[in-house]
């Protein structure tokens, strides 16, 4: 039997002629933080909204703890959601907003007051019950929305791009707070974002979506280092792509250069070499006794604080290379690229 907390099985949803979600299956383990990651229009929000019950799938089923909830209307599923635009009730105070779900559940006034107090404390808004949403900052509104969802003790917490309305610095802070809170409460969480960095930072597992399908499901490390295809590699992080042919076991030949790569691909196959910018080492002089060294010229360099990014022409191609922030000046002119064999990821073309 399926022991997943939330289980989506072979779900399809169409809006008119467009297929928003195309036969997706996904299991979310109890207490895990799973992120749906993809570009806009990939179907991630639609999938989340189907779990909440706002859309009815055309095909497939949704299970919560093994119980089929596909036909249960949204207001009777215990799947509290944090909306992208927060959707706080503008005519209710913070206390009334957070307590609304409890009121609908006929929780006694005393207990409701206590639980609202507790959850506001949890999100760092203790004592703000009497304020109205418009009197709060964006970050505070975000926390109210989170508190409102948490207070009803939902089966699963759903978050739809909750950080997209915050500025960059706050976004980083709030996301780690959300993660801490989730781990502290052990709440099963489904999170939607288009921000790959956010997804990597916050998730136990990431489902990368495109055109209504899940392309890859895995831990952040798996997704980043072992993408299953070019779309995933390109969408998550930055990558150099080189197309070539396996000439011998552990050897890929492409125009102008031949690389030693990890074993695995059969000779004669067309492959794409995926190289993360930080996997490449940059030297001012040719390094000795190492394989995969290319001579190149720096065409542009940019200092980004924690690292320096170089655009290098080598072997008739443009390369992007990231080097941990140098203490002294940036390199220029002639340089040597060293490509460690074990940092190369191969995509076999299908």
């Amino acid at each position: 039997m399926n022991r997943a907390h939330v289980s989506v099985q072979d779900i399809t949803k169409r809006f008119g002629p467009t297929v928003a979600v195309d036969g997706v299956s996904l299991d979310v383990e109890e207490g895990s933080f799973t992120t749906l990651l993809g570009p806009s229009g990939c179907g991630k929000t639609t999938l989340l909204r189907m779990v909440a019950g706002f859309h009815h799938p055309d095909q497939g089923d949704i299970f919560l703890r093994g119980i089929r909830v596909t036909d249960i209307p949204a207001h009777r599923r215990n799947t509290a959601m944090v909306f992208q635009e927060y959707a706080l009730f503008p005519h209710m105070t913070v206390g009334e907003n957070v307590g609304y779900g409890l009121r609908l559940r006929r929780v006694s006034a005393d207990e409701a007051t206590r639980r609202v107090e507790q959850v506001l404390e949890l999100v760092g808004l203790a004592g703000q019950q009497r304020k109205f949403p418009h009197q709060l900052s964006g970050g505070q509104q975000q926390r109210v929305a989170l508190a409102r969802a948490l207070v009803v003790e939902p089966e699963v917490l759903l978050l739809d791009e909750p950080l997209s309305n915050l500025d960059a610095k706050l976004r980083v802070r709030v996301r780690s707070e959300i993660r801490q809170l989730q781990q502290q409460l052990g709440k099963t969480t489904l999170y939607v974002t288009h921000d790959q960095e956010e997804a990597l930072a916050i998730s136990d597992r990431i489902a990368v979506m495109n055109r209504g399908r899940i392309l890859q499901l895995g831990t952040p490390l798996q997704i980043y280092h072992h993408p299953v295809d070019r779309f995933v590699a390109d969408f998550v992080g930055l990558a150099n792509f080189l197309e070539g042919e396996v000439s011998a076991p552990g050897q890929v030949r492409m125009e102008g250069v031949s690389l030693t790569v990890p074993d695995g691909a059969l000779p004669g196959r067309r492959v794409t070499v995926v190289l993360r910018p930080e996997a490449i080492r940059l030297h001012a002089r040719p390094p000795e006794e190492v394989a995969n060294v290319l001579r190149g010229y720096v065409t542009a360099a940019s200092f980004l604080g924690t690292l320096a990014r170089y655009w290098v022409d080598a072997a008739g191609r443009h390369w992007i290379v990231d080097v941990p922030s140098p203490g002294e000046g940036l390199l220029s002119g002639e340089v040597y690229l060293e490509i460690p064999r074990d940092r190369i990821h191969l995509l076999t073309e299908t």
């Binding site: 008119g16 706002f54 009730f89 503008p90 609304y100």
Partner: protein, 558 residues
């Protein structure tokens, strides 16, 4: 071979859409409360909007319609109405444009004052401008006779032209100013930055962007001019017009069929203008209202233009002030034009007729409650993905195209023979549904500001459809409800065009009494009663303002 392929491909695309649509309809109509409300509202709109209009159109026979060209008087009235429409629309729009321009330039001295003064005619009863100008510029006119010693005759088309210009330019101003205000100042700065001088910016950017707004303003003003009954009946004199002709037919000759024919003739141009505005002009508005106020100041206005606008606005503002001053002065002057000493005698006379004011208030309150409720309910229903919601929307805005006299005749034909015929209920219903478009559109706009996700958040937390309505929509729509009530109340209390047809023998309402007094040259008491009506209007505006400020604790955030 290409064609059949294309067609079958087309069908394949359409099928899932139709299926999805039906699924949606099934799910929505599964809520019995919603379905009943929908059917009840549709029935009410059918009965009180569509049915009276239908009665007017079918009352005369085809032969009666065909005989229209043979009636010289009607042809004359139609021609006159169209002439007034052209004249007054152009002049009111030009004045409205100048005011709109002046009040949207931050560097124009007195712009707030001009805007405030220009709003005044909107609150005046629909006959008041004409009445005041008879007092000011008529044969006994304070200005024409007593001050200038002229033998002026304001009755006729030229007097009506002046009156309609002053009465309707505020409408044009509001519409055009709305569009001009929405022109992002950074566009003007961008044009300056690219090398355009102030004049070029104005011509090629600001006014060019406002063009659809100006066209829309002209259409709205044109409808108002065509339907204008109150001013015409007082000042047009022997100049036949369609709006007044219907009244003369019915009152003077008891010719209901003739009245129906005339208002049917009047309906053709107003509906045409209305459809033009709704489906053509309003879709060509380039400016986007972001709701986010731009903090950039507009570029400065060329001095010639600035002071030219100030001059025109000052002159027109003076004419507007005369409307109010004239009526208030008339209420305290012993015998207008002969004996300028002050008196309170007219107020005693007006106080005798105070009952008419109370019954106006009662009918107005009734109409206000109906308009407010129906507005909010229809707005809520049309915001759902319900089948035929377009029909509901159309019926709720349609009264905007109907002249008051048309509605008046329609309700006479539809309800006089029924048990409720001749009661205040018919009058209140007529006024309520005639004012529905304003309340409905305001409520709709308000609903659109409420993000769908707010409702979803409530559902997500466990609220049923009814709980969503109670906890989310009603509190957020209170403001729209109060405003719809207030607008409907004020307009009902000051209405003449519908009241005059539906008032039953023995009933009195203030406007009807005033109109009779003016026509019998009892100016002093008419002025005193009109002043009371004005006080009532401004008091209700004040009360509404306070009520709305209290009930709505937050602006439309979220």
């Amino acid at each position: 071979m290409a064609r059949p392929l294309l067609e079958s491909g087309h069908r394949v695309v359409v099928m899932p859409m139709a299926v999805a649509r039906w699924g949606e309809i099934r799910r929505q109509t599964a809520d019995p409360g919603l379905l009943l409300t929908f059917l009840g509202t549709a029935a009410a709109l059918g009965l009180f909007v569509l049915y009276p209009a239908f009665r007017v159109l079918v009352y005369p026979s085809l032969r009666d319609y065909l005989a229209i060209p043979e009636s010289l008087r009607w042809i004359q009235a139609a021609r006159n109405s169209l002439m007034m429409m052209v004249l007054s629309t152009i002049s009111a729009t030009v004045v409205g444009l100048v005011f709109a321009f002046a009040t949207t330039r931050p560097d124009l001295p007195g712009r707030r004052m001009f805007r405030g003064l220009a709003m005044l005619p909107l609150f005046a009863p629909p006959f008041m401008v004409a009445f005041a100008y008879i007092l000011m510029f008529g044969r006994q006119g304070l200005i024409t006779r007593s001050l200038l010693g002229l033998q002026a005759n304001i009755f006729g088309w030229h007097g009506l032209w002046l009156v309609q210009t002053i009465a309707f330019f505020p409408l044009a101003m509001l519409i055009i100013a709305g569009v001009l205000d929405a022109v992002n100042p950074s566009l003007e700065h961008a044009a300056r930055n690219l090398g355009a001088d102030e004049w070029t910016v104005l011509r090629s950017i600001s006014l060019a962007l406002a063009r659809p707004g100006i066209a829309g303003a002209m259409l709205v003003v044109a409808i108002s001019v065509l339907a204008d009954f109150g001013n015409a009946v007082i000042i047009a004199g022997g100049f036949p017009l369609l709006a007044t002709e219907a009244w003369f037919r019915m009152e003077g000759m008891g010719d209901l069929k003739g009245a129906a024919l005339v208002v049917a003739m009047l309906l053709i141009p107003t509906v045409a203008l209305f459809l033009l505005e709704r489906f053509w002009v309003s879709r060509r508005v380039y400016t986007v209202v972001t709701g986010r106020g731009s903090r950039i100041e507009r570029p400065s206005t060329p001095p010639v233009l600035k002071w030219g606008a100030v001059a025109i606005c000052s002159l027109v503002s003076l004419l507007v002030l005369l409307v109010y001053l004239g009526v208030v002065a008339g209420a305290f002057t012993t015998v207008w034009g002969r004996d300028w000493s002050l008196t309170l005698e007219h107020w005693r006379l007006a106080a005798d007729r105070i009952a008419s004011l109370w019954s106006s208030v009662k009918i107005g309150a009734l109409a206000g409650v109906i308009t407010g409720t129906v507005s909010v309910v229809v707005a809520f229903l049309t915001s759902r993905h319900l089948p035929f919601r377009g029909v509901l929307d159309f019926l709720a805005v349609l009264p905007g195209a109907l002249p008051g006299v048309f509605v008046g005749v329609g309700y006479v034909l539809a309800f006089n023979a029924t048990p409720i015929g001749g009661t205040v209920w018919v009058l209140a219903a007529a006024l309520a549904f005639w004012h529905l478009p304003m309340g409905y559109q305001a409520a709709s706009a308000r609903l659109k500001q409420i993000e769908r996700s707010i409702e979803e958040a409530a559902v997500n937390l466990g609220a049923t459809g009814l709980q969503v309505l109670r906890d989310v929509y009603l509190p957020l729509l209170v403001r729209a409800l109060v405003e719809a009530f207030a607008v409907s109340f004020i307009r009902a209390v000051t209405n003449v065009s519908i009241v005059i047809f539906l008032i039953a023998p023995g009933q009195v309402v203030a406007t009807f009494v005033i109109l009779n007094m003016i026509q019998n040259n009892i100016w002093g008491a008419a002025a005193a009663l009109t002043t009371m009506l004005l006080l009532l209007t401004f008091a209700s505006i004040g009360v509404t303002w306070i009520a709305v400020g209290r009930t709505v604790r937050s602006p439309g955030v979220g």
